[in-house]
Symmetry: C2
Subunit: 174 residues, 2 copies
């Protein structure tokens, strides 16, 4: 299983900025025996960036310089990864992160679930976990920019588009 | 001129988080004599929060706990204030800040220009300064959530709403 690289690799350790939420692991599903698949969330930033790149490749995202991905992870307020564990093997199957002012606003970016794991409610579970963690940190305004094909997915999670005519806008050079 | 409180007040000093842009002051307009009004931008975080509150009051925003405002300033990537200076007096006339992952994305919040100073192109100058500073830090994706009545203002600055169907969304509890 060379594909499943060693995780939580010290050489890729990323120091979080101050006053970010404490790291934790949270079990989503557990099996009856030790060989059954378990799925859990982690808020560690020590993710193998090559494995994260593989996950993003799997959904067809453009590659980004790992130096910048590392910096973005370090300066995100919350980083959540979703893992499938069977026996001693852990595999990264989902990811999301949020920027924030640590007080009022958070914006969720880079939400991804491995295509082989989609359609099982895991994306919903990942987002609900993000929301729960942000609410726990007393963030009142949780926002995101949704691609057209996932607007309905976020609607079902309680996100509202353009409330009171507020528009998401992106700056482009002239 | 008791209204013009002492600025850059040490007791309200706010420590920026690491790797944020260096603080600077930039002159926008200058007069011919020392008594003429000068307008300049600053990226200091050491703003008198009571004066910031007065500015926000002037445009009718709801008051927010200063403890949280201080935290939000500390954890914003970029804080820009706009000042009108005449002789020894400095008056806060505009403000904006941005959250960011310091790598890819920035989101601009709390853009405000004092009503008495509106209609002179100062809001445009403030936003262009924000954009210039964010671009200088190699942020490629500059975003914001615009209230319905300022969407056209941001359009004129080069912001595009809902590009390729991307929707700004806000989470509300069920």
């Amino acid at each position: 299983m060379a594909f499943w690289k060693s995780l939580f690799n010290g050489s890729n350790a990323i120091a979080p900025s101050s006053t970010t939420p404490a790291e934790e692991e949270t079990l989503l599903t557990t099996g009856k025996t030790q060989q059954d698949t378990r799925i859990f969330f982690s808020t560690t930033r020590s993710i193998d960036l090559y494995e994260l790149e593989e996950l993003c490749d799997a959904v067809g995202w453009s590659r980004r310089p790992l130096r910048k991905v590392r910096k973005a992870m370090q300066h995100s307020f919350l980083v959540v990864s979703m893992w499938e564990e069977q026996g001693a093997h852990r595999r990264l199957i989902g990811f999301a992160r949020a920027t924030s002012d640590h007080a009022f606003n958070a914006t969720i970016w880079d939400v991804v679930v491995h295509p082989k794991c989609q359609g099982k409610g895991l994306g919903k579970a990942l987002m609900n976990y993000m929301i729960k963690r942000l609410r726990k940190e007393d963030i009142s305004n949780i926002t995101l920019f949704a691609d057209a094909d996932v607007v309905d997915f976020y609607h079902r999670l309680g996100f509202v588009s353009d409330p009171e005519g507020i528009k998401g806008m992106f700056w482009y050079p002239d």
